[in-house]
Symmetry: C2
Subunit: 251 residues, 2 copies
DNA sequence: CGCGAGTTTGAGAGAAGTCAAAGTGTGTGG
DNA sequence: CCACACACTTTGACTTCTCTCAAACTCGCG
């Protein structure tokens, strides 16, 4: 089947702006805060670094990547965006984007102006708090990514990545162990700070150990506990902590 | 002189909560939102991961580090906090802290309950937007750190770190080229995802090239352009971008 | 059917880590 | 006030991991 049909994976249900879209619209009979939907195809840039930061986008269907662009020219894929994720949150700090968002395949996004966000936030403390939650979650995700880059050897980093993709599928009601990768090896490698060759070798190694199966864009996780053990064993400083309360926010 | 006197480097002027502390207090004759000041000495944990997330802290004097603690046990120093920085912002997402904050030397912090934050945010859209700005800035910082870890070879990473410390001193009105390091080599190494030995070697190399001088806790940057060139040259994918508008937020 | 992007595999080089030990400064207790 | 102890830092030799360069392979698409 063609994976590139936009109709796939439309998930308003898990959208981080769902509360905004629904409770408000229902409440005051107002139309959805979404001003416009936009369609993208693989490679399209939704917004570029340096562009004015006047819009948020909710990914409605398809997948994107968020690339942080530093003034000194550094570029790094900080995050992959799944349906329901919000793009452009980070730019509230200044008037300009500091990331760019690029479509990994055919996508549909909901456009919401920050002006409208501000307006709603002004008279809805609840929504304002929701925005803070979204941002704080973004911070936590970014920290998790840094920690993975800093603390995990390559093998564990790959394991961690695969498991985290599974978690995100699970949050959306799909299988956590069997799914398609929306991005290429090169894109994964860039995100994990390694070369495509090394990534390929590590996937092959994991497959040989019977921990997963992989073929091009498809992944099947065979032994999650073993993968988790790999992560825990891989990092030098393994501190045990009480289990954190499960996270309700969709990432 | 004793560097550990708390009296050093008290900077309300650059505090991210300065607008809250001053304009509001002046406006309605209210007392400062700061409920309490707390003193810490080297090694003290201001708050631990997993603790209830009911307080923000502004670092008034001294230095701290923010350590992200993952459920799987990963620990990574995501950020060093300078006077004026806010600790605890990331935890707005859930009821529990996902980082811990540890004093690098004698510190004084201003404690502000999130309850009070929420209260103020509820009737001050300006303040609410300010909070969003702070959080977004935190996201951008985290992304910058990831990008540095992912894209820069060790040498450039060290150069980047040294320059960024200089920038932060400059933002506070001090020399950008000559300052004391508030943290040990081990702590820097953990932040930069390398070993203390490698860090030491790289610093020595930079010194031999005449780019900086270093002795224990003191650093003198001798050739900022050369260090910047090292960073630009170091990363494989060097894209040039129009200069970003200078950033007013204190980090 | 053949091209090309994407992926895998292999061999060799180089960068950073590990282990070990020697300096160097700071603070404390005699 | 001095001397010792300890924590921190630096240096060296060696190992290992990951990258680089090169080539073969595979699959989807024109």
């Amino acid at each position: 089947m063609s994976q590139s049909r936009v109709a796939n994976q439309v998930s308003c249900a898990v959208c981080a702006f769902n509360p905004l879209c629904h409770s408000r619209a229902a409440h005051i009979g107002a139309p959805s805060p979404v001003e416009e939907r936009r369609r993208l195809t693989r490679g399209d840039t939704l917004y570029a670094a340096g562009s004015p930061n006047d819009t948020l986008f909710a990914v409605r269907a398809g997948f994107m990547k968020a690339v942080s662009v530093q003034p000194n020219g550094l570029r790094h894929t900080v995050r992959f965006l799944f349906p329901g994720n919000i793009a452009g949150l980070d730019g509230c700090a200044t008037g300009r984007r500091v990331t760019e968002a690029v479509a990994l395949d055919d996508c549909e996004v909901c456009k919401i102006s920050t002006h409208r966000i501000d307006t709603i936030a002004d008279f809805s403390p609840t929504f304002s708090a929701h925005m803070r939650r979204l941002l704080a979650h973004e911070v936590a995700d970014a920290h998790e990514h840094s920690a993975a880059l800093a603390c995990l050897p390559v093998r564990a980093r790959v394991a961690h990545f695969v498991l985290s993709l599974g978690d995100r599928w699970k949050q959306r009601g799909f299988s956590a162990t069997s799914f398609r990768l929306p991005m290429t090896r090169v894109e994964i490698a860039a995100h994990l700070a390694l070369t495509p060759e090394t990534l390929s070798r590590e996937l092959t190694w994991l497959a040989r150990q019977g921990l997963l199966r992989h073929q091009r864009r498809s992944i099947e996780i065979l032994d999650p506990p073993a993968l988790r053990a790999l992560i825990a064993g891989g990092n030098a400083a393994t501190y045990r902590h009480e289990e954190a309360a499960e996270e309700s926010m969709i990432s």
